[in-house]
């Protein structure tokens, strides 16, 4: 249910950047979303289509790139990708340690760039 304020925020940000660059039309919006966050493309596109009517972002396509969760081992500093649904068995592939990791990426929630005319 938080898609609506999120979508509104995306629209406000891209319009702000588009206006600053004298853009006539926004064609697509590239989003980077970490695997720890939820954002369903289909739903957010529907909200976006509704909110963006009669703006320069009307008909723009939202393209979501998922960023994998990467953890760092506190013992050997090795970084590795993790399937977050399997966090029970996390083990550092280098030193074998099974505890104390920090999350390096996976919380991304930002707009990378926009394709415009």
């Amino acid at each position: 249910m938080h898609e609506l304020p999120v979508t509104k925020s995306i629209l406000d940000i891209v319009i702000k950047h588009a206006e600053a660059n004298n853009v006539k039309k926004i064609i697509s919006i590239n989003l980077m979303i970490g695997d720890l966050s939820e954002l369903e493309n289909e739903w957010i596109q529907r909200y976006f289509d509704y909110l963006s009517k009669d703006t320069i972002a009307e008909d723009a396509k939202l393209k979501i790139k998922r960023v994998p969760v990467v953890m760092q081992c506190s013992q050997c500093s090795h970084t590795f990708e993790v399937n977050i649904r399997e966090i029970k068995e996390i083990q550092c592939p280098r030193c074998g340690r099974t505890k104390n990791f920090s999350i390096i990426s996976g919380r991304e929630y930002y707009i990378k760039d926009i394709e415009v005319q």
């Binding site: 249910m1 999120v6 406000d12 950047h17 720890l36 505890k99 990791f101 999350i103 707009i111 990378k112």
Partner: protein
């Protein structure tokens, strides 16, 4: 046909909320009121934990509560009955509180008289995790009947909290809830999280929770 070009944006989707949340945090620091954002699923025991906390700490701390509910006053009436300052934010269908809503709530509170202000967020493990409220600390409750697999399903929530209160531990004997497995899952996501086990019904573990909170508020006031 005009040429298509690329404009770099590199902006957080919720940057507006984040900026407002930082303002709220600064305001609370200036006014020396510790703001705790309490989150959980519906029915995990947010109101019960708040009532227990009031019972234990009301003689030593001036407390207030911000209640967020989609459309009811049930929780705020329970808290107000304890003689505590409470304001109700009706989110009108929204599934979470954001910094703007919290900020509105703060406007009608006399912060100078408060040491501790608790936000009872909307019962939900998804949306509140995305929206910074400006709280000093984030706390969440996981209750035993919900199951030990919740960190696998809602990793973001477990990763943003400073403290996890495991409530309804009096149910452990009746549920297939493996406390150690759950803790391992949470600590893998968030090695710094503090885990406390309580039962709001029997009172078990409540003193460990209130002593953690008491220390937090004291440390915040020294800074």
């Amino acid at each position: 046909m005009q040429e298509v070009r690329l404009i770099e944006v590199k902006e957080e989707i919720l940057s507006g909320n984040k900026a407002l949340a930082d303002q709220v945090r600064q305001k609370m620091r200036d006014r020396r009121t510790y703001l705790l954002n309490l989150m959980s699923s519906p029915g995990a025991g947010k109101t019960s934990l708040i009532l227990k906390t009031i019972e234990e700490l009301k003689d030593e701390l001036q407390m207030g509560v911000i209640e967020a509910d989609i459309d009811s006053m049930v929780d705020s009436e329970k808290v107000a009955a304890q003689g505590i300052t409470v304001i109700q934010l009706r989110t009108g269908g929204f599934c979470h509180l954001d910094a703007a809503m919290v900020s509105k709530g703060l406007d009608v509170m006399d912060l100078d008289t408060l040491d501790l202000l608790i936000i009872e967020n909307v019962g939900n493990l998804v949306c509140p995790a995305e929206f910074d409220t400006g709280a000093t600390r984030n706390a969440m409750i996981l209750s035993v009947p919900e199951g030990d697999d919740k960190p696998l399903k809602y990793p973001l929530m477990f990763s943003i909290c400073d403290v996890l209160v495991v409530n309804k531990i009096d149910y452990l004997d009746y549920e297939d809830f493996d406390l150690e497995t759950m803790k391992e899952r949470v600590l893998n996501l968030n090695p710094d999280i503090k885990v406390l086990e309580v039962s709001c019904r029997t009172g078990e573990g409540i003193s460990a929770w209130t002593s953690w909170l008491r220390k937090e508020v004291a440390a915040f006031n020294i800074r």
